[in-house]
């Protein structure tokens, strides 16, 4: 079954899960994501946030861009497309990937699923069909959009494993992080991957749109035993910052959509140097990236813990209080679980290094009055939040 996602009467299309979200929503606070109507918040942001961090959350992933890549050259095609060495990828495994344009600037990132020997699924933040087809020249490969052919849910949180097991999905015990399994949920098939964008224990469930509501109902049938909440995009934005995940198009410009010279970013500049392998053979952007690597680093997207408890909002970053302006905050949040102000900022380096004494200057409002303040920032290299229970196999039962 495929979703009729282009119906002209509806500016915002319904995902196969929409009826359930609509029935639960008390806020009617809807967002458009890739033409689909999805919630920002279903009921209450704090409840939804803590469902991810302390219970079990369910989010609609259907609108995410999904491409099926098949053909005898599929692996060679992906090798040329992606910056990462994927020679260790096997059927039933997922890996995080980035792809660049000829200038070595990031077009988008995503997850690559190897479904079988010559079949892959690439999930992306933005629409990528044009770039994927441009890259297909010279390869025996077929690229098709499967965004509208699959219903997908993200079930995330410390109790996600327990909830799904209780909901009737057997076989999750030995599913390791970044693994994929084809399982049954009661009488229908569901593909489960241990992946997510929350930095917590979690799974992504993929099924035919015809089974969407049955899957939803199976999960929410155990709501009496576990705290399960449907969540929206506002929660996702919070937890992904805590997990230290960056978002192309928001934290930095996607290369082929950037107009101004120098406004695009290389993988090194957004902290994704670890997914670039210059020695794996030719790939698009390799030459430019090799040349960039010879030069001192110019800038980096940097995770910051900002002192104090005032909401940072939009801010410039300086080398020292009243020092040289170095960059700006791209996204920010108050982390309820860490009790800290978190930010991800685009910061210019000085002599190839991140300056140590970083300060943020920002405006905040107190009882309708604007004030300006300075706050010391501390750069982090690790994710802000990375609980141990995230990666245990089998996951702990809560």
């Amino acid at each position: 079954m495929s979703i009729d996602h282009l119906h002209f009467r509806q500016a915002m299309q319904h995902t196969p899960f929409h009826d359930r979200f609509a029935a639960m929503s008390t806020t009617e606070h809807w967002a458009t994501w890739n033409t689909y109507k999805v919630p920002y918040v279903v009921n209450k942001l704090s409840t939804e946030y803590f469902a991810v961090r302390s219970g079990c959350s369910v989010m609609d992933l259907t609108p995410m861009e999904k491409y099926r890549i098949t053909g005898s050259d599929a692996r060679a095609y992906l090798d040329r497309l992606l910056t990462r060495d994927i020679s260790n990828l096997r059927p039933g495994r997922v890996t995080y990937v980035v792809w660049c344009n000829d200038d070595g600037k990031v077009i988008d990132d995503g997850t690559l699923f190897q479904l079988d020997e010559n079949t892959y699924r690439l999930c992306a933040q933005h629409h990528q069909l044009d770039w994927l087809l441009i890259s297909a020249d010279g390869f025996d490969v077929q690229v098709t959009v499967e965004t509208h052919d699959i219903a997908a849910l993200a079930v995330q949180g410390p109790t996600a494993y327990s909830v799904l097991t209780l909901a009737g999905i057997d076989g999750l015990d030995d599913l390791k992080p970044f693994g994929i399994k084809n399982l049954q949920c009661k009488e229908f098939p569901v593909t489960v991957s241990r992946t997510g964008y929350t930095g917590d224990l979690g799974y992504e469930l993929w099924t035919d749109p015809a089974n969407a509501l049955a899957l939803w109902d199976a999960i929410f049938a155990v709501q009496g035993q576990y705290d399960i909440h449907a969540i929206g995009l506002d929660t996702l934005e919070m937890v992904r910052i805590e997990a230290g995940f960056i978002m192309p198009g928001f934290d930095f410009n996607c290369a082929e959509a950037t107009i101004r010279n120098g406004y695009d970013r290389s993988p090194y500049e957004v902290g994704l140097g670890w997914v670039v392998n210059l020695d794996k053979g030719h790939f698009t952007g390799r030459k430019a990236l090799a040349a960039e690597k010879e030069q001192p680093a110019k800038r980096r997207l940097t995770k910051l813990v900002v002192e104090g408890n005032k909401p940072v909002g939009e801010a410039f970053i300086y080398a020292g209080k009243n020092g040289k302006q170095l960059g700006e905050v791209k996204c920010t949040m108050w982390s309820p679980i860490l009790k800290a102000n978190l930010a991800i900022a685009d910061i210019n380096f000085i002599s190839g290094r991140l300056p140590e004494n970083l300060w943020a200057r920002f405006d905040y409002k107190r009882e309708l009055k604007w004030n300006t303040t300075w706050a010391r920032c501390h750069a982090q290299t690790k994710p802000f939040y990375s609980p141990e229970h995230k990666s245990a196999t089998p996951p702990a039962r809560f």
């Binding site: 344009n101 000829d102 441009i134 020249d137 010279g138 390869f139 053979g281 030719h282 390799r286």
Partner: protein, 514 residues
């Protein structure tokens, strides 16, 4: 290991080979056919009739190349100057020389305007010469040589031309020749003849923007000397000797199937027979589209670059007819002593534009434009005693002719012959044999993708630093140790040798084979 492999022994490949061999490099030229010259190689039909190849008339090569490669030592001499004859159905032909034009019914004003016009455009051509002779300047990261080229160009145009002429050059540089000629002349025959030189070989009609530029490019040749009856084969002979004298080796019947690349660096080639030949540098005079898409292959290139290669515009629209004749045909109104000239069938610019229009829709006009020569008038050895050979450029023949060429080739040859028959009633009765080369034949025999003479249209967006395409200017390619030296590079096609020379200079500038 060989220092340099050059793919293709056309005139650009040979020029490049001779320069590099003279710079002390060990050069191996790999040619797919059994003789040197590519499109300029001589051809033979019916055993005894020899033709100078597709380039059947030429301008002298530049004095730099002549001197640097010691071409005179190897027998190179520009041929005797010839006129162009604008054929007229009633026999009132125009005889057009370098700076004069005569003929029945020619308005006096046109006769007077022609030398003025011609000298002005030759001056334009000479002022923009730095742009055509040197490697095209980059727009970003310019080197000193680039600044010098731009500096010279600016000085020439602003100071050298003077204000009024500069304004005129800037006005016409990118526009079409139709409008410009209409401003200057009344006589349709004259305008048709001039416009033919601006469009022959390109998918352009006189009304196509950029046809002043293609004409100025042709005038670059005339700056070296007058048009002569000399075909490319003569130049090829001298170049081959020059290259071999300098130590370059030429291997025939060696078709390059693949350029071998490891870690984004070229290290040799693989021949069609599977043989691998290694070298420190590979320089391709083949069509850039064939070089990148077939010999390198898209997977070895960055995706956007590979995609841009596929978008290079360059579908050939010119074909070539060779006629073996049992005698010298009579052309009404042309004396026997005038038969060595270049005969043009393009009676008006409208006629040319109509012929071009058909090609845009995959059709072949009933009235193509023709450029005919009788090389045997100048060189009696080309045909048996008393016999002659006639060589005809025919435009516009679309590469992708609706219905395909296989079925319609003979019809077209007949059409061209009967068209020439209108000026020469006895031509048809003298034909011993003929050969027609369509763009499809030119592609399969010379490797020019889609049969384009210039390895890519000479349009403004594919000229100078954009030739052959963004990401591969100045004879470099994205693949290290792989260079281009053919007509697909700046400044383009024609028997100039400049792409070959500039590529060699570029290789030397970058440190040679080190």
């Amino acid at each position: 290991m060989t220092d340099v492999i050059i793919i293709g022994a056309g005139h650009n490949g040979l020029v490049c080979a001779s320069y590099l061999a003279r710079a002390g490099m060990d050069v191996l030229v790999l040619e797919s056919s059994d003789s040197a010259g590519g499109m300029s190689a001589s051809r033979t039909i019916a055993d005894d009739y020899h033709f100078p190849g597709l380039a059947h008339v030429s301008y002298p090569v530049s004095k730099h190349i002549r001197k640097d490669l010691q071409l005179d030592r190897f027998g190179y001499q520009p041929g005797a100057a010839i006129d162009s004859v604008a054929l007229d159905a009633d026999g009132n032909h125009l005889f057009i020389g370098g700076n004069s034009v005569t003929g029945k019914d020619l308005p006096e004003s046109d006769a007077a305007a022609f030398p003025v016009f011609k000298s002005r455009y030759l001056e334009f051509a000479s002022k923009i010469r730095p742009l055509f002779e040197n490697k095209p300047p980059r727009l970003k990261n310019m080197g000193f040589a680039d600044l010098r080229t731009l500096g010279k160009l600016g000085w020439n145009i602003r100071i050298g031309l003077g204000k009024e002429a500069m304004y005129e050059l800037l006005r016409v540089a990118a526009i079409n020749i139709y409008d410009v000629l209409d401003e200057q002349f009344e006589d349709e025959r004259l305008k048709g003849a001039i416009a033919t030189d601006a469009v022959m070989g390109s998918a352009m009609g006189p009304r196509t923007p950029g046809t002043i530029l293609t004409w100025l490019q042709r005038l670059q040749g005339e700056l070296n000397g007058p048009l002569s009856s000399q075909g490319g084969a003569h130049l090829i002979h001298a170049l081959t000797q020059s290259a071999e004298d300098a130590g370059a080796r030429i291997r025939f019947d060696a078709r390059v199937a693949k350029i071998l690349i490891d870690n984004d660096k070229a290290f040799g080639v693989e021949l069609a027979n599977g043989e691998m030949v290694k070298a420190r540098l590979v320089i391709s005079s083949a069509d850039p589209r064939a070089t990148f898409s077939e010999m390198v292959g898209a997977p070895k290139l960055d995706a956007m670059f590979a995609s841009r290669v596929k978008q290079i515009r360059g579908a050939g629209v010119a074909g070539h007819l060779h006629l073996a004749l049992s005698g010298l045909p009579n052309f009404i109104g042309i004396s026997e002593s005038q038969m060595g000239n270049r005969l043009l069938v393009a009676p008006s610019m409208r006629y040319i534009e109509h012929a071009f229009n058909h090609s845009k829709y995959g059709e072949c006009s009933e009235h193509p434009i023709l450029e005919a020569t009788l090389p045997s008038v100048h060189d009696r050895s080309l045909a048996p005693d008393g016999h002659h050979v006639m060589s005809v450029n025919v435009a516009f023949l679309p590469y992708d002719l609706e219905g395909g060429w296989e079925e319609q080739k003979t019809t077209l040859a007949y059409k061209v012959i009967s068209q020439l028959g209108e000026y020469s009633p006895d031509l048809k009765s003298m034909i011993v044999d003929h050969e027609l080369l369509t763009p499809v034949d030119i592609e399969s025999q010379f490797g020019a993708v889609q049969g384009h003479w210039h390895h890519g249209e000479l349009s403004i967006h594919q000229s100078f630093m954009m030739r052959p395409l963004h990401g591969s200017a100045q004879y470099d390619t994205p693949v290290e140790r792989l260079f281009l030296c053919g007509a697909g590079c700046h400044p383009g096609g024609g028997l100039t040798g400049i792409p070959g020379r500039n590529a060699a200079k570029r290789v030397i500038e970058l440190g040679g084979v080190k």
